[in-house]
Structures are given as structure tokens and as C-alpha cells.
């Protein structure tokens, strides 16, 4: 085809210039792709951290206020005497003693203190169905977040605390809550029939550390739960160690208070992303005194290097990419105009022998588009290379995700209870999840499409400027210059 032959020959004639233009476009586009990939990777990491906190599909999370201190002498549901606040002291013989608030002290040797504590105050379970009926809400489910703290004192009085977190989940609503983002690695998850069963699903990390497998038994609050499944949450999150049916969690004896007929967390799915803000407001009106968080509000509280990198990619990275792209466009335009100026006689002759202006313009635009396409291919390649380099050399990022105020959200493995000052943590203490976040830049198809469009647009812009000059060219003037 004559068009292609002419185009090919012309680009070959000014090969250096064509390569220069294509390279410039490739650099600009490559930077855009790399920054976009890095941003996407950071967003994905952030999203992974946040979604694991309350599950994929959950748009709004409602948590109760911080639980108050237990009343001394009060009894829990199963009749156990509530120990109230207590502390440790050194006895007259140098042994460790446990003292209750009423002053009674006994030797701690050989004793095991097991405390099941709620992270938040209870919210009446009826509020869950009320939240589900709010306009803009597709579903709501309740959950309970507990921490089981165990402190074992040896005969010498030394203590070895341990804890694990327990989440009560609504087995009838598998798409809401922290279990919804987990991937099953063995066994099976809860079904609706498990609502009142003593079964549990454990996190793969916890199962490995405690040497648990499907079929193993696990005791919580003196109740033996059979493990039916093992799940794995998104990488670098701090998921609960154990999941049990909500009704079983509600029946557990807490160190302070009871959660019968109550939940500590409500997970809400909105009908649309644009309606989340409105739904949040409605829920806050329905449940005053609770903390209502969305993924967006939680994302704003994420600190650590992951948010720094996100900001860096979003601000500096984006502007740098835009500047380089503008420079590449400018160079492409300049060089194309110079090339057109050199070919004035050629175009004047073609016009003289009967070529229409639009045919000549199409030829120039074709040459420019070809350089743009070459730039796009180079840019995508550079973008992939840039993303690979970032993936290879970028350090592990950290994300600190604060829990909503008043909560007892404790990181797995963190012991609460006896120690400094004794007793459960009081309200006002800010807990947080510190998670390591690997950065995996991802080049998506939409970014590739953007890169191609940008590069071809850059080439066509340059061609358009040259074409404007051709359109204004009078053959007589062009030919007189040759003469």
C-alpha cells in the first residue's frame, strides 16, 4: 500500500529523529505507568490491610464504646465470681501474690488465670436488624470481638501470659465480617446449621503456632470447640485467631459483663459506593455513642510508610510523570515541525501535482502515530521494568491502623491483663495494628490502555501541529523557496 510504503521510507530516512521522539514518549509514558503501578500496588496493600479488618463486602463497621471496668463482686453468667480488678504484689516471703480489690491476697503459685474480655461494649442485637432495614443498606450482620488472656503462674511465682483473639461471626451471613475475606486452606467454613454448634475455624498462622489441624479441639471459656476449618487472611494483616459462631460467643462468660443478646460490632453492606456516606450518617443517628467507620475513614487513619509511599506516589510521582510527559510532547511537536519545515518543497510539489491537503496531512499524521505507537510499546515495557524494579528493591512497608477509639482491639499475641497495674485495659487507651505490607506494583490493563492512548495522543498532537502548517502551505510559495 502506497501510504505505508511512503510512511515507512520517510521514517527510515529520519530514523534518528523518529527514535528520539519515540524514546521521549516512551520515557514519559513509562514513568506514568510505573507511578500508576506503584500507586495501584500501595492502594492494593492498603485495601488488603483494611479489608481484612472487617472483611471484603463490608462498607461500614459499627463498634460499641469501650467497656467499663468490672464491678467488684459481680458474677458472670456461668456463676463464676468476677474477680473485679486485681493486682500483683510481692508477699512477705518474696512470693508473688494475687490481690483482689477487697484486699484479699493469695499466693499466685500454680494458678492459671483465664480472662475472656470483650473489645467493645455490647450493642443490642435488635439494632442489627434495624440497621439492615435502613435505606441504602443491602445487609447487616453482627459480630463479637473477644480476647482470651491466660496467665499461668509457676510454683516460683513467675508468670507466662498468653492470649488469643476470638471473633464470633454470624454463620448465616458469610459475606459480611472478617471471615468473608479469608481463604479456606483446609476443612470447611461455617454453615447456617452451625449457628449453635461448638465448632471453630482457626487462622492458619495460629493453627501452625499451636499445632492445630482440622479435627483438633480448642478450649475457650472451658468449652471444647472442634476445629472444622483453617483459613488464611490477606497477607500482612492481624486477623482473629479463632472464629466461633456468634451465639456461642454471646454465651461465653466474660471477665466483665455479658454479651447475651448483644454484639460488639455490626458489619453493614451498602447498596452502592456512593451511598456509603449517607448510610454512615443514618447508622450514627440510629446508634448514638457507637463508633461508625468506613474503609475511607479508616484509610485516612492509616499511618506508617505505606501511607507515606501512597502520598509520594500520588503527589510527587504523579506530578513528575506529568512534567516528563509534557516535556516529551513538546519535544515531539518541535521535531515534527522541523521535519515538516524541511519537507515544504516536497509537500508543495505533491499539492502541485494534485494531492489534496488532507491526503498529505494523513501521511504526516500516520508518521506521527507510528512514532507514538512505538513510544507506547517502549513506554509499557519501561513501565513493566520500573514496576519490577520497585518490586525487587522496595523495602517492606509498614501500616499502623488505629482501632476506633474506646476499643480493646489487641494485636494477636499481645497479652493483656496482669502486668503493669493489672486488670483489663481501661477506656481511652488507643490500640493499633502494626502490620508489614509488601509492595507489589501492579500494571493493570487500564494502565496499559492509558499508556497507549497517551503516547499515541502525543504523537498525533505533534502531527496535528505539523498538519496545521501543511494546511496553510501555498504550493506557489513552497515551490518558489526551492527555486
Amino acid at each position: 500500500m502506497f501510504f505505508v510504503t511512503y510512511l515507512r521510507r520517510e521514517l527510515r530516512r529520519r530514523m534518528r529523529q523518529a527514535i528520539f521522539i519515540a524514546l521521549g514518549l516512551a520515557l514519559g509514558v513509562g514513568l506514568v505507568v510505573t507511578v500508576a503501578a506503584a500507586s495501584a500496588g500501595v492502594k492494593k496493600a492498603e485495601s488488603g490491610v483494611l479489608s481484612a479488618l472487617y472483611g471484603v463486602g463490608t462498607d461500614v463497621t459499627v463498634t460499641g464504646a469501650a467497656p467499663g471496668p468490672p464491678k467488684p463482686g459481680s458474677t458472670s453468667k456461668n456463676g463464676q465470681n468476677n474477680q473485679g480488678s486485681w493486682g500483683l504484689q510481692e508477699g512477705p516471703n518474696g512470693q508473688t501474690e494475687i490481690c483482689t480489690s477487697n484486699g484479699t491476697c493469695t499466693s499466685a503459685a500454680g494458678k492459671t488465670i483465664d480472662q475472656l474480655m470483650s473489645s467493645y461494649s455490647g450493642i443490642s442485637e435488635s439494632k442489627v436488624s434495624q440497621a439492615a432495614r435502613l435505606p441504602g443498606v443491602t445487609a447487616a450482620a453482627g459480630g463479637i470481638a473477644l480476647t482470651d488472656n491466660t496467665t499461668t503462674f509457676s510454683s516460683s511465682g513467675s508468670s507466662s501470659p498468653s492470649s488469643f483473639t476470638v471473633d464470633g461471626v454470624d454463620t448465616g451471613k458469610p459475606l459480611l465480617g472478617p471471615l468473608s475475606s479469608a481463604a479456606l486452606t483446609s476443612g470447611h467454613s461455617f454453615t447456617a446449621a452451625d449457628a449453635h454448634a461448638d465448632v471453630a475455624v482457626v487462622d492458619s498462622g495460629y493453627a501452625k503456632s499451636e499445632n492445630l489441624k482440622v479435627g483438633s479441639d480448642l478450649t475457650i471459656d472451658q468449652i471444647k470447640f472442634t476445629i472444622i476449618g483453617i483459613v488464611r487472611q490477606a497477607q500482612a494483616t492481624s486477623p482473629p485467631d479463632v472464629y466461633v459462631p456468634l451465639t456461642r460467643a454471646q454465651a461465653m462468660s466474660l471477665y466483665a459483663g455479658s454479651l447475651t443478646g448483644a454484639v460488639t460490632t455490626i458489619y453493614v453492606a451498602a447498596a452502592s459506593a456512593s451511598g456509603i456516606a449517607v448510610v454512615s450518617k443514618e447508622i450514627a443517628r440510629l446508634l448514638p455513642g457507637t463508633t461508625v467507620t468506613t474503609q475511607a475513614s479508616l484509610a485516612r487513619q492509616v499511618t506508617g510508610s505505606v501511607s507515606s509511599v501512597a502520598k509520594l506516589a500520588s503527589d510527587l510521582g504523579r506530578w513528575l510523570a506529568v512534567l516528563v510527559l509534557i516535556a516529551a510532547f513538546a519535544v515531539a511537536c518541535l521535531l515534527t515541525m522541523v521535519a515538516v519545515a524541511r519537507r515544504v518543497a516536497e509537500f508543495g510539489t505533491l499539492k502541485a501535482i494534485g494531492w489534496r491537503t488532507r491526503r498529505i496531512v494523513a501521511q504526516v499524521l500516520g508518521e506521527s502515530a507510528a512514532m507514538g505507537i512505538a513510544g507506547a510499546a517502549g513506554g509499557v515495557g519501561l513501565g513493566f521494568a520500573g514496576a519490577a524494579i520497585i518490586s525487587a528493591v522496595a523495602p517492606m512497608l509498614s501500616a499502623t491502623v488505629p482501632a476506633p477509639s474506646g476499643g480493646f482491639a489487641l494485636a494477636a499475641g499481645q497479652a493483656a491483663g496482669p502486668g503493669l497495674g493489672g486488670g483489663p485495659r481501661g477506656p481511652g487507651t488507643t490500640a493499633s495494628h502494626l502490620v508489614a505490607v509488601p509492595l507489589h506494583p501492579s500494571v493493570t490493563s487500564s494502565v496499559i490502555a492509558l499508556a497507549v492512548i497517551l503516547a499515541v495522543a502525543g504523537g498525533l498532537l505533534a502531527g496535528a501541529l505539523g498538519s496545521w502548517r501543511i494546511a496553510r502551505l501555498r504550493p506557489a510559495d513552497a515551490l518558489s523557496r526551492v527555486a
Partner: protein
């Protein structure tokens, strides 16, 4: 047939106005060979541009076969040039990246001729100018004379009615000049073209039927006598001269003779 009536072309250079063509009345018949002579800067190329529709007169009208060129918009003018007018330039003006055959083919692209038709006509055109074996050569690989032959093939491949040649031998040596003029004459006779040829060289103008001498934008027409002198030139009004005098020179001597 060309009919020029009161044609004037003015160029404005700052505050100066330069008349390239002044009040020209001229008729060029179908199949006529008109040579346009004159010194540099006296309006020869301007006249050619006006005849080719590459430029518009400041005043007056130019008609080609009854159609006023000034009334045509640019797309129509371009179409007219594509179909009916062939151009030959002093500097050949070949596209440097295209081969001889592809350069000839550029004249057929605007006509929408199919690929096989173009190939056939290009081959025939190159054969007619004696360059069939150079079809694949780039202009840089051809001599000046060969490049001009390619340009002639390009001008004639579309079988135009009019051929406008602007100093076609200006960049060629004497022998090549004669070859090219001989080729043009042959093609002119075979095809019955209307040929308007701009030149400053009397030897090139010799085969023409009329010579339009331009001086300061004004034209003096010299008609061929219908008979030839001893030297074989229709312009030779001075018997015994070996060469046909430059009509410009003839004008001066003629005036000198009368003065004497």
C-alpha cells in the same frame, strides 16, 4: 485552450508593491507549444503558477477550456491539476525516499487508480522516457538527466491536457539539455499536448511555435515565421547566424537597427 484577459499579479513586499505580471492578454491554443522567456525576476514562473492554478491573479481572469480558474475553490483546483495539468520543475522535485516508479506513481494516487492499473501505467511511462531499467532506483541514485526524465514521466503518466515546465533544463548540462528537449518535443508531437515552457535559454525555446518574452511583467509575443532559416530556427530573422538569437537580444538589435 487558455484565455488570459487583463491578468495582473502584484506582490506586496512591505510597503513596496512588485508587479510580477501586468495587464496580460494571452490566448494559448490546444496543442500549442509556447515558450516563455525572460530574465530572472521578470514574472515567468509567476505566469506558470497562474496557468497551473497554483496562484490567483490580483486582477483579470484566466480560463482553461472555458472554466475560470479564479472561480474554482481549492479542492476543485487541486482536482483539475490532478487530472489535466502536468508540472515539470527545474530542480526535478522528486520525493527523495521514493523510487523512480513510486515517484511516477504519486501522480496517479489522487486519481484513485487501482494498484495494478497504477503499476501498468507507471511502467509504460518509464518505458517511454527510457528508464524502464531504473524503476527501482532512488533519485539519489540517478543522474540529473535521469531524474528529469522521471519527472517528465510523472507529469505525463496521467495523460494531461497541459504540460507546464519551469526551466526543465536549468540544472542540466548542454548534452542532457538537448536530450530532454528532444524528449519533450517528441512527446508533445505524439500526444498533442499544450506545452508552456519557461526558459531563459533560446536553444530550449527553439522548437516552440511562439515565444512570450517577459520583461518587467509585460509580455511581447514572437510568432514563429512558418519557415526556417538556414540554421533551422523559426526565430532566426538574421540570415547567416549559426544560432537563433535570443529574442531579447533580437529585440535590442532590431531596435538598434532602426535607430541606426
Amino acid at each position: 485552450m487558455y484565455k488570459l484577459t487583463g491578468v495582473t499579479k502584484l506582490y506586496h513586499k512591505g510597503r513596496r508593491t512588485v508587479p510580477a505580471v501586468r495587464d496580460l492578454d494571452l490566448t494559448i491554443s490546444d496543442g500549442e507549444w509556447l515558450a516563455v522567456q525572460g530574465r530572472t525576476g521578470h514574472g515567468k514562473s509567476t505566469l506558470l503558477n497562474l496557468l497551473g492554478g497554483l496562484d490567483q491573479p490580483t486582477e483579470g481572469t484566466i480560463e482553461l477550456d472555458g472554466t475560470g480558474l479564479g472561480a474554482l475553490r481549492e479542492p476543485r483546483l487541486t482536482r483539475l491539476r490532478a487530472e489535466s495539468i502536468g508540472f515539470i520543475f527545474q530542480t526535478f522535485n522528486l520525493v527523495p525516499t521514493l523510487s523512480a516508479a513510486e515517484n511516477v506513481e504519486t501522480a496517479l494516487i489522487p486519481l484513485g487508480t487501482g494498484h495494478s492499473g497504477r503499476r501498468r501505467r507507471v511502467a509504460a511511462a518509464l518505458d517511454q522516457v527510457g528508464l524502464a531499467d531504473r524503476a527501482g532506483h532512488l533519485p539519489a541514485e540517478l543522474s540529473g538527466g535521469q531524474q528529469q526524465r522521471v519527472a517528465i514521466a510523472r507529469a505525463l503518466v496521467k495523460e494531461p491536457k497541459v504540460l507546464l515546465a519551469d526551466e526543465p533544463t536549468g540544472n542540466l548540462d548542454t548534452d542532457t539539455r538537448d536530450d530532454i528537449i528532444g524528449l519533450l518535443e517528441q512527446l508533445w508531437r505524439e500526444r498533442g499536448l499544450t506545452l508552456v515552457l519557461v526558459t531563459h535559454d533560446s536553444a530550449v525555446a527553439r522548437p516552440a511555435q511562439r515565444v512570450a518574452v517577459m520583461m518587467n511583467g509585460r509580455v511581447t509575443i514572437h510568432q514563429a515565421t512558418g519557415s526556417t532559416s538556414a540554421s533551422g530556427s523559426p526565430w532566426d530573422l538574421h540570415p547567416g547566424n549559426a544560432r537563433a538569437p535570443d529574442p531579447l537580444t533580437r529585440s535590442r538589435t532590431d531596435r538598434a537597427g532602426r535607430r541606426a
